[in-house]
């Protein structure tokens, strides 16, 4: 695969008072890959992807997406450029139906302004397809808040798919899912990856190893290591970060 850069950060940093949550990270993501970000608790993973999606502003550094400097763009504009973000804590519209949840995402892509754009019928049919793509096709009329937790996580992904993003950022998507649900989830992400680059924060190493083309390890806000899954598993520094320094 030709290596085309989709996303790049230069000297990206975010400080919370004295705490350096993200501390000068240079990071590159190529088109079409599945990249996992791992690291111990408090390594700054969530803060890092929040900086990418624009949910919080950086203290220093720059973010480039698709060749453009997006550092100063608000989150909603980055979404329109193709960065979709699914929340670590399930964040849906609980009182709306599954279909309505996805339709809001699809509407952003097909009908970005008030006048013109796609018809309601098109929005509805594409939202239905996104629901089917994650296996929620037979639940589109259910109220989202009444879904089982695992289904709500899938709904999050379907909303991300509704945007047809270039980059889908998944923040700890399998947290709280059962083994069977995780297995299905891995398949869903693989299918998503046929059309989108995926950046996934994940604690579950089975998921990481099943999905990731490359792995980036963060520790204390810094980039500790980066490589293929095999390289990372063998990496001494990574083992030390997770298991403590050898005696």
């Amino acid at each position: 695969m030709a290596e085309v850069t989709l996303l790049e950060t230069r000297g990206l940093a975010r400080h919370f008072d004295g705490l350096k949550a993200v501390d000068v990270v240079d990071f590159t993501l190529n088109v079409g890959e599945i990249r996992a970000i791992i690291g111990p608790n408090g390594a700054g993973k969530s803060t890092f992807v929040s900086l990418l999606s624009g949910r919080i502003p950086p203290s220093a550094g720059q973010v480039f997406f698709d060749g453009k400097d997006v550092t100063n763009l608000p989150a909603f504009k980055r979404v329109r450029l193709g960065i979709a973000y699914t929340f670590q804590i399930t964040n849906i519209y609980p009182s709306l139906t599954v279909l309505e949840n996805i339709e809001i995402a699809v509407q952003n892509r097909l009908k970005p302004s008030l006048f013109g754009g796609a018809s309601e019928a098109q929005i509805q049919s594409e939202a239905t397809l996104a629901a089917q793509a994650v296996g929620l096709g037979d639940r589109i009329g259910d109220t989202a808040g009444n879904l089982a937790y695992g289904h709500q996580r899938l709904l999050e992904v379907a909303m991300g798919l509704g945007l047809e993003p270039k980059l889908l950022i998944l923040d700890e998507p399998t947290q709280g899912l059962s083994d069977a649900e995780i297995k299905n989830f891995i398949e869903v992400v693989k299918r998503v990856n046929e059309t989108a680059t995926v950046l996934i924060i994940e604690h579950n190493m089975d998921v990481v190893l099943a999905l990731a083309d490359r792995i980036t390890v963060l520790e204390r806000g810094r980039l500790l290591a980066e490589g293929t899954p095999d390289e990372i598993v063998e990496n001494v520094a990574v083992q030390a970060a997770y298991l403590g320094e050898p005696a």
Binding site: A105, S119, H151
Partner: protein, 345 residues
């Protein structure tokens, strides 16, 4: 949770086919049952004029106009989740824009009406630009503050506005002719049917707004604004659209009131009217299309009847408000929707 077998390629093919189908079905009406219910409600309202006494037809005329006011308010408070305490300002603005242009420039009633709507649109857009920089409690205070300033302005400029004494529109502003037909604003029948016609237009218009793409964004902002931003929407603009639409329709209601009853006065811009819009919406059901009509109807008739029995009727109204807030915070139609009829929105 079963693994779905659809591959991306087949999804794409299906998508193309669906898109074709989408072109054929140029327009789809979401929630056809609510549309049918709206039409049925309109039919009943129309027929009521033949069944009710003159007094009640007049009361119903007033209810229809105040329902338009409450519907405008509901667009912001019920659908978008922004609680304003200053909507009397928009009602009063429309009232004065229509009344003053009739009074001073002698514009015919339809022209005054259109002027008032256009002016309300600009006015509510500008107020929205400022007020929407705040949220929550601050938004309530800012809207209240703007409304009080506007109310005091109508008193301060009483040489022009007539202040709290008000002004009666001249006789030649009590009728108009349009498309060869004469409309006499002192006739109960004409007034009722005009109010009904405009109410019907606003109701159908609001049906399509709330059940379409714009209404979807209003609801999205109400339910989860941060999520809506992360789905790529500038939620400030969505709120501004709701605010402007809401203010314009409230202004329309005020203009209709002024031209129909031929009287304008500062009382209509007072705090009392802001609370009425809130009260009617709360009782009927915030975020429901027909809630404001129901709430306005019930509360107006209740106040009318109670004030005939006791001068302390406001105590009873207060108790009703407390009961509604404690046990039925979603109002009558909101509660019915929650328990039995999910499409009632």
């Amino acid at each position: 949770m079963s693994l779905h077998s659809t591959e991306i390629s087949s999804v794409k093919a299906a998508k193309a086919a669906e898109a074709e189908k989408g072109k054929d079905r140029f327009m789809i009406i979401h929630n056809g049952r609510l549309f049918a219910l709206s039409l049925a409600t309109l039919s009943v309202l129309f027929v009521l004029q033949f069944a009710l006494s003159d007094y009640l037809v007049l009361a119903l005329t007033r209810i229809l106009i105040m329902s338009i006011f409450a519907m405008g308010y509901n667009m912001l408070m019920g659908y978008t989740g922004l609680l304003s305490l200053g909507h009397a300002m928009f009602f009063g603005f429309g009232l004065y824009a229509a009344g003053l242009s009739s009074y001073y420039f002698g514009t015919s009633l339809p022209v005054s009406f259109v002027i008032a709507i256009a002016a309300s649109l600009v006015f509510s857009f500008v107020i929205g630009l400022l007020a929407l920089r705040t949220e929550g409690v601050s938004f309530m205070i800012v809207t209240l503050m703007f409304a009080q300033a506007a109310y005091l302005a109508t008193l301060y400029f009483s040489k022009i506005t007539g202040g709290d004494q008000g002004m009666t529109l001249p006789t030649d502003a009590r009728s108009f002719s349009l498309l060869g037909a004469n409309f006499d604003m002192t006739s109960d029948v004409v007034r009722f049917n005009l109010a009904f016609g405009i109410f019907a237009v606003v109701l159908i218009f609001f049906f399509f707004v709330t059940q379409g793409p714009l209404g979807r964004l209003f609801t999205a902002v109400r339910e989860n604004e941060p999520r809506t931003q992360m789905l790529g929407f500038d939620t400030y603009r969505v709120r501004l659209a709701a605010f402007t639409l809401s203010g314009t329709v409230c202004g329309l209601a005020g203009a209709l009131y002024a031209l129909m009853f031929g009287y304008i006065g500062s009382a209509f811009a007072g705090f009392h009217y802001s609370i009425e819009a809130l009260l009617f919406t709360l009782v009927g059901g915030p975020g429901t299309l027909l809630g404001p009509l129901l709430g306005t109807g019930i509360m107006t008739m209740l106040i009318d009847r109670l004030s005939g029995i006791t001068t302390a009727y406001l105590i009873i109204i207060g108790i009703i408000l407390i009961v509604v807030n404690m046990w039925f915070p979603k109002g009558i139609l909101g509660t019915i929707r929650e328990r039995w009829v999910p499409w009632l929105k």
